[in-house]
Amino acid sequence: MEDFLNAFALISNFVLVPAIAYGSQLALGALGVTLVFAILRFSNFAHGDTMAFGTMVTILVTWWFQSMGISLGPLPTALLALPFGIAACAAFLLISDRLVYRFYRQQRADPVIYLIASVGLMFVTNGFVRFIIGPDDQRFADGERFIIRAREFKQMTGMAEGITIKVSQGITVVTMIIVVAALFWFLNKTRAGKSMRAYSDNEDLALLSGINPDRVVAITWILAAALATIAGTLYGLDKSYKPFTYFQLLLPIFAAAIVGGLGNPLGAIAGGFVIAFSEIFVTYAYKKFASYALPEEWATGGLLQLLSTDYKFAVSFMILLLVLLFKPTGIFRGTGV
């Protein structure tokens, strides 16, 4: 029994807890990508850097709060600063829509032209963020760091293996659930949400029935800004803030959105978790786990690792490839790529 509990603690500590937190972060990012794809019909490559921009504003406001002595006690101050980050990010996206995408919308340009325009915007945002906050790591987390630490857990239970749960991981999961619930409520129950879905289903029909396209587009960008800023801030709290990393986040986020089905919000969430879990499960070395879970005489000297961690990214892209081969619209029916 003791062995079994140890094995479970070990797997939770190194696989389950990190994968759930990482999956939530990816899911929030993928939701933003998928929303823009569903309504504006293009893959927004600037999403990673939009996250960096929103988070940057959040960080600057957090520092301002910290300097004034405002804090949330055990919770990070950044949560208080989030609305400011979202507002600034929304303004930024609306301006960029006005300057860049609106032109192409009037031309009824192909999606691929939007995509290239978004790559351009990605580089501009990228430079803009570095210009303001610099390329370095920034720390803005404060408050308590751990809900429970592995060392304390071991002392409490007397077990050989401990479980660590960080405050940031807890906040990430709770926020993810709240945000997703709010988003679904908005899309399904409110007038604005319904008009967005109508616009997404059939643009011409929606225009005929009197839906104001500018309004739909604006709401989409505001939602995308909120999702990007929340995802970016949670990620920054859990790991660290560095513009370059946010640029790199784009790949797993897109993998998650496509695996789940581009354009389908449920799929984005599922995709986020599929990518996070597969990356960690397949490359984990089960040597220690086996030493607890299996009888002693079965022990081997090897690491019992299915794939070396070098191939971690290959795993998510293999899944992406398989999904595209056998179910091109993604796990949940999306619009297809």
């Binding site: 390329p135 790591d137 790991k239 370059f244 220690k288």
Partner: protein
Amino acid sequence: MKQRVLKSLMALSLTATTGSVFAADVKLGVFLGFTGPIESLVANMGPAAEQAIKEVSDSGKFLAGTTVTAVRADTTCVDSAAATAAIERLITSDKVSGVIGGDCSGVTTAALTNVAVPNGMVMFSPSATSPALSTVEDGGLFFRTAPSDARQGVVMTQVIMDRGIKEVAVTYTNNDYGKGLADAFQTSFEAAGGSVTISASHEDGKADYSAEVGALASAGGEALVVAGYLDQGGKGIIQGALDTDAFETFVLPDGMVGDALPAAIGPDLNGSFGQAPGTDSEGAGKLVEMATGYDASSPFAAESYDAAALIMLAMQAAGSSDPADYKDKVFDVANAPGELILPGELEKALNILASGGEIDYVGASNVELIGAGESAGNYREIEIKDGALSTVKYR
């Protein structure tokens, strides 16, 4: 008529590059990763190199009053194609007479073999430490003020063994630097009777390192050797390993040594140790005092200053800014015999060379060139105590 003017202009510019003694201005390429994974280190390396250039240029003693200007180009640290294009531009369009850089080993090798060697251009890297660069076919054109990691592997083995640790796990950043250092270390550590439980790579700038930490924890070991970068994957791995209680002690090679790391991780890092190129020479301190607008104690900033200084001193000794002439003088100015030269004394060195004397450039990083033109390497053994780097001793 127009064409003739053009032709003569072209001829003029040609003579300007070949007969550079008469050129009014010598250009040096500062070829570092201004964007990309080590952009935060380069923020101090670039200005350090440019300070040496400015010092020489302002002295008015360089090649009979020639001025020197720096031209920046971006290696990106990771993208060999971009780096190759950038150095191509430096040589063919900016017409530089020497290149300070590149920075990361991978892009440096690509730029060297594809562009610098075919064009007969001298490259002087402050930070490329891959052992492979010691044996690369460089036609005597490649130098570095950074030591090879083959040497660091040996030093790190001693540092670890001296603490009675015999079993370690290794993770390295997946590039020429990380792989080269990890392999050099593993060979040397196993030869000394230690064992390496796992040697796993990690990618820099990625979103999540839980998978790597999980695998390393499962393999186990008394300490974790992190051959990465302190503001990149290396930090992510350490943070993850501490959070999950996988390892308590970390061994930190040069890419991981910096004040930012204990500041970011906190007291949990106390007791971890490592080594980085460094000396207790007065040169290092002098450069820190001289530095304006950047941090000269940041890794490889001193080496950058020295690389720039050595190129210009070699030019002065050869009396020419043509790479073919001055490449053979680099060893002469870097090593004994001669008068010892510290940072800030470049004007003095230029004077000595102009009058036919000899110098032994010590610089900020205690330069002593060996082998194929690389620094012999002085290492500073460090330990993290009370959240700050403290020097144990020099090796």
